[in-house]
Every structure is written in C-alpha cells, then in structure tokens.
C-alpha cells in the first residue's frame, strides 16, 4: 500500500510566540520549528501500514525553504521519499489554495491512501485535509482515532464525535485526517537521521505542477493580537469556613456551576 502523508512545519507549541509589530504574522526569528504534532501521528500511521502491508511512504509539504527540516524529520522516522512544493507564492495561499496545490502534487504519485493531521498547531484551521479530499475526488474520514485497513479496498475508521465513537467504513483510496490517540509516534533514530540526510527531496514549483497562476486567496489575515486580558473578579478573605461558605454560594447562585 502506497501512502502519501501531508505534513507542515510549524512553530514548536512550547515556544514563546512573539507577534510581528505589524500584526500580520509571527516573528519567526529565533523561533523553533517542528513537524506538526498531528502530522507526526500521520507519518507514524503510514509507517505502521508500510510495515504491515509493504509499499512506500511519501511526504508532501508546501512551504518555505525551512520546511525541508520538517520533511527530514519525517524521513528520519522512516518515510521513503519527500516532495517539497517550494514557491514564493505558497506563502500567499489560503487553506483552500494550499489544498489545491497539494492535490496537484499528489495526483502523479502512486497513492492508495492520503493521511493528514487533523489540523496544524500553528493556525488550528483543519481545512486542508477535507479540501484536499475534494480536489482529489476521494472520500474522507476526519479526526480518526483508529484506522484498520481490511482488504485494501476498504478501511474502517473510528472517529470521536460529541460524546460517542463513530465507526465508519470508507472506500479506498481515501483521505484520512488523524487525531491524537491514533498511535504513539516513534522518535527518529540516528541511522534514520543519516538516511534522511542522504534522501533526495523532490522540489516542485507551481509551474511544475501545471499551475500557471496561483489560486486566488479568499480570506486575508488582518491582524494577530494577544488574547484579551481577563479582569480580576472578587477577593474572598477572612475566616476559612466563612470564605468557603461564600464561595459555594457564589458558585451556585452567581456562576451556576454547582
């Protein structure tokens, strides 16, 4: 089974993020970038499929030059090949445009299954996976916590919906977006890192994908701002029993949470 995994290189969620003075983005200087957390789960799932059924694992990303490090991280985990869509217009794409470009890059690849993270931890959008499925004309299952490949023509996917687990049967090839909990991603090994270093990464420009003009963006980021500050509420001070009594009353009658 040949699996394509879409990945994104994003700021480490542990990093302190500084917003750019113009509010149009994040100050990338000194920021540590990593393979998107959910995409690591995608790579891991693909590797497990390959270990069981054979085939190849190909990574695809659309991003700036630094995104090559995200691809290397996935290759170091054990992926076989990587495609880097690197074009200056990529930065200006919205999510739908990105999905269009990824679809164009995936179409010529041998592919029985496409895996994506359910969202990327930089913009938390969750748009690319389902949009990609549409552009590839494939069925989809989103936020999947367990994936079983049966005869190679159908897969069974579990997804957590509000308060329940839904079991879906989906025809292959399909696009599956993965949720945390689907697996425990392996750490890259040192031999894996050395192998990744030797693996040639295919670089594609939009023109190589048969796209003469980039897709038009339909949304525009106006501003990034820090979250609003919360206001301090009420102080409860005094003798402990009285304070607890007042707290219980407030939680019941004012907040109505008890």
């Amino acid at each position: 089974m040949n699996v394509v995994v879409c990945v994104k290189h994003v700021p480490d969620t542990e990093a302190q993020v500084r917003l750019r003075a113009d509010g149009r983005g994040v100050d990338e200087s000194g920021l540590n970038f990593v393979l998107n957390y959910y995409d690591e789960h995608g790579v891991e799932e693909a590797l497990r499929i390959k270990e069981r059924l054979g085939g190849t694992v190909t990574l695809v990303t659309a991003g700036p030059a630094r995104a090559v490090e995200g691809l290397r991280a996935g290759l170091a985990m054990g992926a076989d090949a990587a495609v880097h869509i690197q074009d200056q217009v990529v930065a200006g794409l919205d999510h739908i445009g990105t999905a269009r470009v990824l679809a164009a890059a995936i179409k010529p690849l041998p592919c029985d299954l496409v895996l994506c993270g359910k969202l990327a931890t930089d913009d938390n959008a969750g748009i690319v996976g389902p949009a990609l499925a549409e552009f590839l004309g494939l069925p989809q299952a989103t936020a999947v916590t367990k994936l079983e490949l049966g005869d190679g023509r159908r897969a069974t996917a579990h997804r957590e919906v509000e308060g329940a687990v839904e079991t879906l049967e989906v025809r292959l090839p399909a696009v599956i977006t993965v949720e945390r909990g689907i697996n425990e991603p392996r750490y890259p090994s040192l031999p894996g890192i050395m192998r990744a270093k030797r693996t040639a990464i295919t670089v594609r420009r939009l023109a190589d994908l048969g796209m003469s003009t980039p897709p038009t963006a339909h949304v525009e980021l106006l501003q990034l701002a820090p979250p609003p500050k919360r206001q301090a509420g009420r102080r409860l001070e005094g003798e402990a029993a009285a304070v607890v009594g007042e707290l219980i009353r407030a939680l019941r009658e004012e907040a109505k949470v008890l």
Partner: protein, 399 residues
C-alpha cells in the same frame, strides 16, 4: 567561521530533547530517590541509536560524529544526569575502544548489541591504589596457555552492576604504562563478579561498584589491542570520554539555570518576582555566560576529534571548564531557590549533588590542569604562539 549546527545536528537535538523531556524528566526525581533507572529506557535509547552514537552504521550504530554525541549527552543530562553517565560510559568507554582498537571479529561480536542497547558496557581502570595515577594499576594478567588469568579489584565502575561487556585494564608486563594491556571481559566469565556496591552523593540512578577478578580466565581473543599497549587504549579512550563528561556537565548546568530562571520568575518576595532583583539577574547572567563558553569549548574539542586530529588538550580544557561550570551553576541555583533549594521537593539539590562527580571522574580537575599545563608549557618551549590550534575553514567530518 560558522557556529550554527547543521540540519541533522538540529534534528538530533530536537529528537533527544523531546525524548528526554517527555520520557526522562518526569521520572528524574523518582529515579534519584530509587537509585535506579527503568530498564526500558536503555531499550528505547538503543532503538534511537543513542547507545552507539558514533559507532558506524555497519556495526549497528548511529554513524554520527562527536558533535552529535555532545548534543545527545547534554540533552539527556539536562533531564537526568545519571542516565547520561550510563550512556556516556557505553558510548565513550566501551564502544569506542572496541571500535578503535578491536579486531574485526571483536567489533562484529560486541558492537551491534552494545550500539543498539541490547547489552551494556562498562570500563574498569581505577583501582583502590591507582586513581589519578592509573599507570600504577596492579591487577595482574598472567599468560596461561592460550589465554590470560586476571587477578585484582577494580573500583568505581559505572554500570558495573548491569554491564554485559567490560573493558578491563591489567598488567601483563613490568611496572609503568608499558606493562598494561586492555581486555574485553563478559558478564558470566568465571572468576568475575560484582563486589561492593557504592552509595554515592549524586547520579544515584546509575550503578557504581567494585568488579572483582579472581582467577578470571580470558581466552586470547579477548585481548583488546596489542599486549603492552593498554595504556594507549586507556588514554585515547579518555580523551573522547572527557568531551562526553563536558557535555554531561553542561546538561546539568543548563538544568540548574533553567530551573532557577523558572523559579525566579515565579517566586515573589517584597511584592515582586525575585527575577527582578539585580542580585538574581547577575547570578543568571553569569550562569548563561559560563554555559555558553563551555559549550563552545566542548563543540570545538568534538570538532577537532571529528577531524581526526589530536585533541587531548582541547578535551581537557572543555571538561575542566564545563565541570566547574556545572558545580558553580548548581550552587547558584540552590542559592536562588533559598530554603527550597536545600530540600528534596525541588530539583536543584539534585543538580547540586549530580554536578560534583563531573569534577572527579574521567580525570579530576587537578589532572585536567596537569594535562593542560603539560601541553601549554611544552608548546611554549617550541613556540611563543598559542598552543591552541587555529580553526581551519569549517568543514565537518560528516559532510
């Protein structure tokens, strides 16, 4: 001159940091209290290739360079220093001498398991009466038919309790360094046993013990390198080992600094975080400065070793500076924590205890100064120029 880590070095760093932060750090206090590390850690480290960082891929290792090794040890020590000692011994003191001085058969027999964490190694040099003066060791290796019979006691053997593969130094000839040979012993060899297990000030989770050799018979193919060349093996091994200890020390220093910074931002006295007081800021500034300096010394020593050039002086300088930085930084961290720094609920007293060993093992600070002084004085006789080698144009061994 380019001071940036390469792409694969950064990937090694982020990978090991991730493992150490999620797997090791949460267990660090418990490991310190229990005096043991979870066995599955060695398996996990082995799967990642960290038990054989610079062992070539053909022998099952990571196939990486000394700079990578420094990165690995620093990141592990930043989370928990004892496991860094375990790794450091396996990589530097066991895999290395077998790789550098072993026969092809010895390499094929021992390295793949050592490098993949399936077996663990240790290094038996020090004796009760031969510490810094290693050349005076007295463990005897007597020729007997087609092998050797070893008698003596080795002390302060890190990993000794768990080790499967032991590099042992014993005297095959007369007095002095030229009478020493290196051997490979295995757990279960008749006449080899674990003696007294030591209770240490720090690095509790790693074992330290005596190894007792009592009519321990080793076949001839266990000789490591040539007979009488054991001291060369020991010293070449220690040059690399010292760079690893520098990395361990810097990891401890960084842990002390990072914990102190977090605490100083959080802890409020006189109505504000203590990080706003200059007395705290200066301590932290000095910690950062010394850690940065130590890291440059360490990377440079590693880089020279990666060029295949002599690096005894640079290894000693890096080890001396980094270990004294670790002890100093841990002391400052305890001071910043105040009373909380002196109790076991917070990690800095552990850093304080763990730091001390780095000034002692693989050559005390006094021995490092001796080595440095010998090099510097000898070079000064030859030339007035700096004895420290100039940097050649940047080119790393793994390119």
């Amino acid at each position: 001159m380019d001071f940036t880590l390469s792409e694969e070095h950064r990937l090694v760093q982020s990978t090991v940091r991730e493992w150490a932060t999620t797997r090791l750090l949460p267990r660090a206090a418990e490991m310190d209290r229990a005096g043991a590390y979870p066995r599955e850690f060695i398996r996990e480290l082995g799967e990642m290739g960290l038990t054989g960082v610079f062992t070539p891929e053909e022998y099952g290792g990571g196939g990486m360079d000394m700079v990578s090794y420094c990165i690995v040890i620093e990141e592990i020590a930043r989370a928990e220093a004892a496991l860094a000692a375990v790794l450091s011994v396996n990589n530097s003191l066991d895999c290395y001498p077998i790789l550098a001085f072993g026969t092809e058969a010895q390499k094929r027999k021992y390295l793949p398991d050592l490098a993949r964490g399936r077996t663990l190694g240790c290094y038996c040099l020090t004796e009760p009466a031969a510490g810094s003066d290693a050349a005076s060791l007295r463990t005897a290796a007597r020729r007997d038919g087609d092998g050797y019979v070893l008698n003596g006691t080795k002390v302060f053997v890190t990993n000794g309790v768990e080790a499967d593969v032991l590099v042992v130094y014993a005297r095959t000839g007369g007095e002095g360094p030229r009478g020493i040979s290196a051997f490979i012993a295995e757990r279960g060899d008749p006449g080899l046993r674990v003696g007294k297990i030591e209770h240490k000030l720090g690095i509790h989770a790693s074992s330290t013990c005596e190894i007792v050799l009592q009519d321990c018979r080793l076949p001839r193919d266990r000789l490591l390198g040539e007979e009488g060349k054991g001291f060369t093996v020991a010293m070449a091994t220690l040059d690399g080992g010292r760079i690893g200890i520098a990395a361990q020390a810097l990891g401890i220093a960084r842990a002390a600094m990072e914990d102190a910074i977090a605490y100083a931002k959080d802890r409020r006295q006189f109505g504000r975080p203590i990080a706003e007081f200059q007395a705290t800021q200066w301590k932290i500034a000095d910690m950062a400065t010394r850690i940065h300096a130590g890291r440059l010394l360490m990377y440079r020593a590693a880089w020279i070793r990666d060029q295949g050039r002599r690096h005894s002086l640079e290894a000693s300088i890096a080890k001396l500076f980094a270990s004294e930085t670790a002890m100093w930084a841990a002391t400052q961290a305890v001071q910043i924590f105040g009373g909380y720094g002196y109790i076991q609920d917070y990690p800095v007293e552990r850093h304080f205890r763990d730091a001390k060993i780095t000034e002692i093992y693989e050559g005390t600070s006094e021995i490092q100064r001796l080595v440095i002084a010998r090099h510097v004085l000898a070079a000064a006789e030859r030339t007035l120029e700096s004895p420290v080698e100039d940097c050649r144009p940047a080119r790393t061994a793994h390119d």
